[in-house]
């Protein structure tokens, strides 16, 4: 719980002919963190090349994602089928890709024609089709309109004697076609294949008054736009059908291909020579034997497997090992830096104290309930596990806020209520509004305990890595300084007052012994850490005083709430408008205060951990353990 997973350093070497089998085993087990091979100048081993089939898979996955994006399918993790025939996938995928490309093109065409529809008279004019002066148009059917592609070739092969004018407008062609009246059916057929959409006849006759034979394709006046929309809707319906039929297929294929591509590209991390490969990496100790036996089984013991304990200079990846309840607090470690290998992982301590500090600062039953509901709602909307983790942590913080609200007897900043002219007090252990000095004393005492825990963890950390002597020299001095600091704050500076001061004085030894302890502590710090340590001594006092923010932030929060309540309370007695304004003030005021009340305690609680707590023991700088296999 307090440490990350134990790791073993693993080396796998074998002939290239077994590389694919090896990768497949590694991918399936999903336990090896592969260390990338970096080529240096005199290195005999080269960086590996992707497996041959990789390119084909990469090509297929591009198509799959293009289809997915056109059909509006978001790739997500689905269960893989055991026996997937890549060739069959490929054939179906290519067919689908072609169909969809054609549909996409057609859809674009209709969109453009619809867009151009209101401007067709102007377009026809600007096109400037110059009809032949000597031709006889009385026996010629004409077609004016839009088509999606070049039609000249087809027309010339099937229709004798025609006249064709055309103009490109983006992906659309505006054409004017004249054929003999007897040939108009043939022409109409060809045009229909190219989604011909005629222009309103009145525009044509205005432009070319000499055309006597009439249009080759008649449309009802003003109906063409509706027709276009209908065609487009039909197209969209088709796409919807395709989506329905292929959604599962696309998701499966996307997952399958992602896996294949990852497997094919794995050798990029390996060291390879002409005929062999070496994989180095890290495996959690408890999963090592399974990896070894599976590898031996798959390769008939033809691959060499070696596992050993890490030595001091290895950069071992870090995998958290927590009970489920602590997991949300990993978020704060990811935000800061991961603990290095073998170091005590502070997530558990954050789990204990982060909600505590947050609750102590916000400490209001009403605010706690509102933030709780708020976080629960946001959590349901969030999908990424990172965000969910953070919100789980914040839910703990809200619960703690409610708990402290009960202790402080605060409900939306209200401490008392009046019923039948009798003032009732909410039950409480301590009033934040009126016992400021007590609150400060308590905050500082919490600080002393928290810092002391930090120093003790530091002690254990150093003890594990460098032995008792080092641990004693580096950390004991600081612990010995704490009693005199307590005395200083209670008896001299009088920051700790009242019953808290009495309590501190009762547990502290006499001033003489205190001084002696501090003297010894000072000498130990001086020897252990040199002058730098001595310079930092006042820092520990400022660290402890910094916990005064537990009181300060809380006081600010409750004061603001009380001010809002007071302003609204006065207005409540001044009639209907007064009540409306008062309600408005209450809503706005408390909303602002809750927003501040989430942000400020969050940051300050985090800061107390990062700055005051972690600096006593935490080094960090670990790399994350990412196993090679299917991503969870």
């Amino acid at each position: 719980m307090l440490e990350s997973e134990r790791m073993l350093k693993v080396e796998i070497a074998g002939p290239k002919s077994l590389m694919k089998e090896t990768i497949e085993v590694l991918y399936r087990l999903n336990v090896l963190h592969i260390t990338e091979h970096l080529k240096s100048e005199e290195d005999v081993f080269d960086i590996g090349k992707p497996l041959e089939e990789g390119e084909e898979y990469a090509d297929m996955i591009v198509k799959t994602r293009a289809i997915a994006s056109f059909l509006n399918i978001t790739p997500r993790r689905v269960k893989l089928k055991k026996d997937t025939d890549t060739n069959k996938i490929k054939i179906r995928l290519n067919k689908l890709y072609e169909d969809i490309s054609a549909l996409q093109k057609k859809l674009k065409y209709y969109d453009k024609v619809i867009e151009l529809y209101p401007e067709q008279a102007k377009l026809l004019k600007e096109a400037g089709f110059q009809l032949k002066l000597d031709a006889d148009y009385s026996k010629q059917s004409h077609f004016f309109g839009f088509v999606d592609d070049d039609i000249e070739e087809e027309i010339s092969s099937k229709v004798h004697g025609y006249e064709l004018y055309s103009l490109n407008i983006d992906n659309v062609k505006l054409i004017g076609l004249f054929v003999d009246t007897k040939n108009k059916d043939k022409a109409r057929q060809i045009l229909a294949e190219h989604s011909f959409s005629p222009i309103e006849e009145e525009h044509v006759t205005t432009m070319f008054p000499d055309l006597k034979a009439g249009p080759g394709m008649k449309i009802q006046k003003g109906k063409q736009l509706n027709m276009l929309h209908k065609l487009k809707d039909e197209l969209n319906g088709k796409i919807e059908d395709i989506k329905k039929d292929n959604q599962d297929f696309i998701l499966e294929v996307e997952n399958h291909l992602t896996m294949k591509v990852e497997i094919a590209e794995a050798p990029l991390k390996f060291a390879t020579s002409e005929n062999s490969f070496i994989i180095t990496g890290w495996v959690p100790k408890k999963k090592c034997s399974k990896l070894e036996s599976e590898l031996n089984k798959a390769t008939k013991k033809k691959v060499h497997f070696k596992a050993e304990m890490p030595d001091k200079h290895d950069k071992v990846p870090v995998a958290f090992k927590h009970p489920k309840i602590v997991e949300p607090f990993q978020f704060f470690m990811n935000l800061y830096t991961l603990p290095s290998y073998g170091e005590i992982d502070p997530s558990f301590f954050m789990f204990l104290t982060f909600p505590l500090f947050f609750g102590f600062m916000l400490g209001d039953v009403g605010y706690g309930l509102i933030t709780l509901v708020l976080f629960l709602i946001i959590k349901r909307k969030m999908e990424s596990p990172e965000a969910k983790g953070l919100l789980n942590a914040m839910i703990f913080a809200s619960l703690s806020t409610i708990f402290f609200g009960l202790l402080f007897g605060e409900y939306f900043g209200i401490e008392t209520f009046t019923l039948n002219n009798v003032i009732y007090d909410f039950p409480r252990v301590m009033s934040r509004m009126h016992q400021i000095n007590d609150l400060l004393s308590l905050s500082v005492l919490i600080g002393v305990i928290h810092v002391a825990i930090g120093i003790l963890i530091g002690f254990v950390n150093i003890y594990k890595h460098h032995g008792l002597k080092h641990a004693f020299m580096e950390k004991a001095g600081w612990l010995l300084l704490l009693p005199i600091l307590l005395w200083l704050m209670s008896s001299f500076l009088k920051i700790i007052t009242g019953p808290y001061a009495d309590f501190v004085n009762s547990i502290l030894p006499s001033l003489g012994i205190n001084g002696l302890l501090a003297g010894v502590g000072f000498v130990i710090i001086l020897i252990g850490e040199g002058t730098r340590g001595a310079i930092e001594i006042p820092g520990i006092l400022s660290n402890i005083l910094s916990y005064g923010r537990l009181m300060a932030v809380g006081l600010a929060s409750v004061s603001l709430a009380a001010v809002v309540n007071e302003m609204a309370g006065e207005l409540f007695q001044t009639g209907v408008i007064g009540i409306l304004v008062a309600v408005l003030i209450l809503i706005i005021g408390h909303t602002i205060n809750i927003a501040l009340g989430i942000l400020s305690p969050f940051l300050h609680s985090l800061r107390l951990h990062y700055v005051e707590f972690f600096t006593k023991f935490f080094k960090g700088g670990g790399t994350r353990y990412i196993s090679f296999g299917r991503k969870e």
Partner: protein, 76 residues
């Protein structure tokens, strides 16, 4: 009606908070700007950036503690 010495104590406490808050703000503005700049380059620096930014905040806390001590004087 409070006498003039109480007033002076209140002014002293106010100055302790106000001046230390100004000092913290001045210190934080430069650090904050630099931290945001660093974070724009490299996301992982958020943790370090936050810590560096809030370090001067202790000044206000000290100001607050001093203010409370000063008000404590008034009680004596």
């Amino acid at each position: 009606m409070a006498d003039i010495s109480t007033g002076l104590i209140a002014i002293g406490a106010g100055l302790a908070i106000g001046l230390s808050a100004i000092a913290a703000a001045l210190a934080e503005q430069t650090i904050g700007a630099a931290a945001v700049g660093a974070m724009a380059e490299k996301d992982e620096l958020f943790g370090k950036g936050l810590i560096l930014t809030v370090i001067p905040e202790s000044l206000v806390i000290f100001g607050l503690v001093v203010a409370i001590l000063i008000i404590g004087l008034a009680a004596h």
